[in-house]
């Protein structure tokens, strides 16, 4: 069922409370490290106007889109209410200083998957 784990760069490049952008199998994803060190990955396009999420401010497990300030919960991919919609989330792991990502199959909006 699950796809392959794909390389997505070095662990050290992702600092706490920052995001980076990577292209994995032609899909642009944003990788974030929270203040507590957790890695989280979502598609790098805000559901609002497609803003580059990796440039946003990371607070807890939320990123705030740099274009218009939408909050995106990085765990679920859902926009923080009152905004609606969301982005796909992807599995991620770290191994010997390398980051690996497993892309979600569905490109669907997660709020429609309930």
């Amino acid at each position: 069922m699950a796809g392959d784990w794909l390389p997505a760069g070095e662990s050290a490049d992702i600092e706490p409370r920052r995001g980076v952008r990577r292209c994995v199998e032609g899909r642009e994803v944003a990788l974030f490290r929270t203040g507590e060190g957790e890695l989280l990955v979502v598609d790098n396009a805000c559901p609002h106007r497609g803003g580059a999420l990796f440039e946003g401010l990371v607070t807890g497990r939320t990123v705030v889109c740099p274009l218009h300030g939408w909050g995106i919960d990085l765990g679920s991919g859902r926009a923080v209410p009152p905004e609606e919609g969301g982005v796909a989330t992807h599995a991620v792991r770290e191994h010997e200083g390398q980051v690996e990502v497993r892309l979600a199959k569905s490109v669907k909006n997660p709020t429609e998957e309930r």
């Binding site: 760069g9 803003g51 990371v58």
Partner: protein
């Protein structure tokens, strides 16, 4: 149950409505009320008309009782209808619309009319009186197509009109019949000090001169004086005085002298008819100030509601000139009689004049020009008639000063003279309703609702409660219980820190939010400018990348062009960079600079290196542009070198972090081509020097700047602007523009801390200095960082690394973003 009596009120002004408000409060269902209002507006604040003219307030901003108020209280309001006659036998009021309204009781509150001198040409276009909201609108429109104005009359109203027109940019001359201004409030020395203060604002004063005729062909072109001098003017304001409007009463056969004669309970010669306000004459006096009108309104409302209050025995009047930047206060007698004790204080350097008149150990009158900080205390002393010692009133800190220091001992001091609101009443309302703004206090207590003169004291009380309240004050955001001041104090009191370090030390809940994290980053730059640290993770992308993110993920690059002055070499370089990096849009910005739009992030360092120009900070909460006009360098109207000062200001304050963006303007003459009046800091050149205007805004909430100070030299400008910016840096909420901050704090308070309190100014400048001296150009810093292969800079700007098995970041559709 008693049937409601029919009450008709002729007049819809402040006196009438103050009476109705009280009456409805005391006897809600007792009367069926009809109000005739000749003007097409509900009750508005006539006292603030001059301020409205100067600040360009919309009519609705002056409304005290909106139409909804009348509806909510079942008041039948006949707007735009003049009461044309009273039939006292039939007990009916006839309206100009031919309506006939029967009454059981009738209140006359017809106010007063401006006196129009019977001069030849008085009916020409461009000649105005200044009494109503419509007058104010007409004046404003007239001012737009005029360059020169003459105001006839140097009393309160004339001077306030003159100051308003001056602020609109007109050349203004005041012609006054007598040898001193405001002769009903000031003595001659006081007038001299006031004349100097007005002259400093660019208002010309002609005393002892008589207006003789208005010249012009249909439209007024000049005012001729009796001595033959001709003053060219496209606009003339007649402000020689007001006359009680007793006409209706007189025709109805009511006893009248100068006004409608009333007794101590506001009754006229007809037991069913009452009068109050400017049209009424009580014990030989017609009052034109709002405070006595409100006192009369209360007495009449009590009589109608059958509530026991003391009779009206007359008012002791105090007055203030409401002209921004000029403080004039007068209470009680202003001229001494033989045998009175007189205490005078003069300080020509600060242009301050004070005079107290004492008789038999009691204060009888006070005149203050240039410094009115003791006004409330003196007003109290005169009102109460307490014995005073000569060492008292002029020595030691004033009670107002004590109030702002938080150690006042008299909660009963009346703060708002117009509405009789005490310090205690304000503090209790602030506490009970958790009030935070002057407007809130006005709504709940009435304080500052009429003339606004006590606004600064209300602000001081608000600050006092907020500052004293500590944790009960508003927390910075939901992530902490600490207020902005507490957070700042804690940051200042510790060693330099990172944002996560501050959050840990101050027991933040969670990881902060997008409101507090950038604010904390700013506070750190404010308190520890020499220890910048890495604030990137808590800054908005623009301030982290030092370029403005665009909708497609590209960035804009706006180099600094000091004062909008460039060179052929710089333009060639800009053009070459634009071509070399295929910049899709090259645009001249509203701030007199050139923007390169659509630059890929990874090209930013190379673009900056090739430009070799300082950052324009067009993306930051910082000092952005200084817009200039050509000024005396080439302009045939220019009186001052605006280019020189603009460039100097931009160099002095560029790259300084601020609570919000700061834009400046420098115009070499009052034509104001640099739009200085809608800038955070705007300079206007005058014959004598510079006007420093602050708190303007041309954005979503347009606000005209207010005069902070008039100074002579460029040095003083840079010093005062520096102190103003530092006060703003320290006091404003993060994200709060100067316009909101200035309205919140009040220009008087800002002026006190920046201009008048010299030691405070020095302290502000001393705290600004380290921030100025530790500035680095962020673009050059990053270009060098890349050259030395600094990892943070590389990670930020270089293209994503190519990973085996990972497709490189050049994907179709997002090419531009890389």
């Amino acid at each position: 149950m008693k049937q409601a009596e029919r009450l008709v009120v002729v007049g819809n002004g402040m006196a009438a409505l103050a009476c109705l408000e009280k009456l409805i409060e005391w006897a809600p269902q007792a009367f069926a009320i009809t109000v005739y209002g000749e003007e097409p507006y509900p009750n508005y604040d006539r006292v603030r008309l001059p301020a409205a003219l100067a600040e360009g307030l919309a009519p609705e901003e002056l409304i005290l009782n909106p139409l909804g108020w009348y509806r909510a209280h079942d008041v039948d309001l006949r707007l735009g209808v003049r009461a044309s006659a009273i039939d006292r036998d039939a007990r009916v009021v006839e309206g100009s619309d031919r309506s006939r309204t029967p009454y059981d009781r009738l209140i006359l509150a017809t106010g007063s009319r401006p006196i129009l001198l019977p001069l030849p040409g008085i009916d020409k276009d461009g000649v105005y009186s200044f009494r109503t909201l419509d007058d104010c609108e007409r004046l404003r429109v007239g001012a737009e197509r005029s360059a020169r104005a003459v105001v006839v009359g140097g009393g309160l109203l004339g001077l306030e009109a003159a100051a308003g027109l001056r602020r609109l940019g007109l050349e203004v001359t005041v012609v006054h019949l007598l040898d001193g201004l405001m002769e009903r409030q000031l003595d001659l020395p006081g007038s001299r000090y006031l004349e100097r203060a007005l002259a400093a604002q660019g208002i010309r004063i002609l005393l002892g001169r008589t207006a003789a005729a208005l010249l012009g062909n249909g439209r007024v072109e000049a005012l001729a004086l009796a001595d033959g001098e001709v003053l060219p003017a496209e606009l003339v304001v007649m402000a020689v005085g007001i006359r009680p409007d007793r006409e209706l009463a007189q025709r109805a056969g009511l006893a009248c002298r100068r006004g409608v004669v009333v007794d101590d309970r506001m009754g006229t010669s007809d037991p069913r008819v009452y009068a109050l306000g400017e049209c009424a004459e009580h014990r030989g006096i017609c009052y034109g100030m709002v405070k006595p009108l409100y006192q009369q309104a209360r007495v009449l409302a009590a009589r109608l509601a059958e509530v026991a209050v003391p009779a009206y025995l007359g008012s002791r009047v105090s007055s203030r000139l409401k002209v921004s930047g000029i403080k004039v206060f007068s209470a009680g007698q202003h001229l001494e009689a033989a045998g009175d004790q007189v205490v005078r204080f003069e300080d020509a350097g600060r242009n301050v004049y004070k005079k107290l008149i004492l008789r038999e150990g009691r204060l009888l009158g006070a005149v203050l020009v240039g410094d009115d900080s003791e006004a409330a205390d003196l007003d109290d002393l005169i009102e109460n008639g307490q014995p005073v010692s000569l060492a008292g009133p002029l020595a030691g800190p004033s009670r107002a000063a004590q109030a702002s220091a938080g150690c006042s001992e008299s909660p009963d001091t009346v703060i708002c003279g117009c509405n009789g609101v005490s310090r205690r009443a304000i503090l209790e309302a602030v506490e009970a309703h958790r009030l935070t703004t002057r407007a809130d206090v006005a709504r709940i207590t009435g304080a500052s609702r009429a003339c606004g003169g006590c606004g600064p004291q209300v602000d001081a009380l608000l600050r006092l409660t907020v500052e004293q309240a500590g944790p009960a004050g508003r927390p910075l955001c939901a992530c902490t219980h600490l207020t902005r001041q507490e957070v700042l104090a804690a940051i200042r009191g510790r060693r330099p820190q990172s944002v996560p370090g501050v959050m840990r030390d101050l027991r933040w809940s969670g990881d902060g939010c997008s409101a507090c994290r950038p604010a904390l980053a700013y506070f750190l730059t404010l308190c520890w400018p020499q220890h910048p640290g890495d604030l990137g993770a808590s800054r908005h992308v623009n301030e982290r990348v030092h370029a403005n993110i665009q909708k497609d993920g590209t960035y804009s690059v706006v180099p600094r062009i000091y004062g909008g002055v460039t060179t052929p070499g710089a333009l060639i370089r800009l053009a070459q960079v634009a071509e070399r990096f295929e910049v899709p849009l090259l645009k001249i910005t509203g701030g007199q600079r050139l923007a390169l739009l659509g630059v890929r992030k990874r090209d930013l360092p190379a673009v900056w290196a090739a430009l070799a120009m300082p950052s324009g900070f067009a993306y930051a909460k910082a000092v952005r542009t200084v817009k200039t006009c050509v000024g005396s360098a080439y302009c045939r109207f220019g009186t001052r070198d605006s280019l020189d000062l603009g460039i100097r200001l931009e160099r002095a304050f560029e790259g300084l972090w601020m609570p919000a963006k700061v834009k400046m303007g420098v115009a070499g003459c009052p034509r104001n081509c640099a739009e200085s009046l809608i800038k955070d800091v705007g300079l206007l050149g005058t014959e004598r020097g510079w006007q420093i205007q602050v708190g303007g805004n041309g954005g979503t909430e347009v606000r005209q700047a207010e005069l902070l100070a008039s100074v002579e030299g460029n040095e003083e400008v840079v010093e005062l602007v520096g102190a103003f910016l530092q006060l703003y840096r320290e006091q404003a909420d993060y994200g709060e523009r100067t316009s909101r901050w200035c309205s919140r704090l009040g220009i008087e308070e800002i002026r006190r801390r920046v201009v008048e309190d010299v030691s405070n100014r020095r302290a502000l400048l001393a705290r600004l200095e380290p921030a100025l001296s530790s500035r680095v150009d962020p673009w050059r810093e990053r270009v060098q960082g890349l050259r030395t292969r600094e990892s943070g800079v590389r990670r930020e700007y270089e293209r994503p690394p190519s990973v085996p098995g990972m497709v490189d970041g050049e994907t179709v559709g997002s090419e531009a973003a890389f």
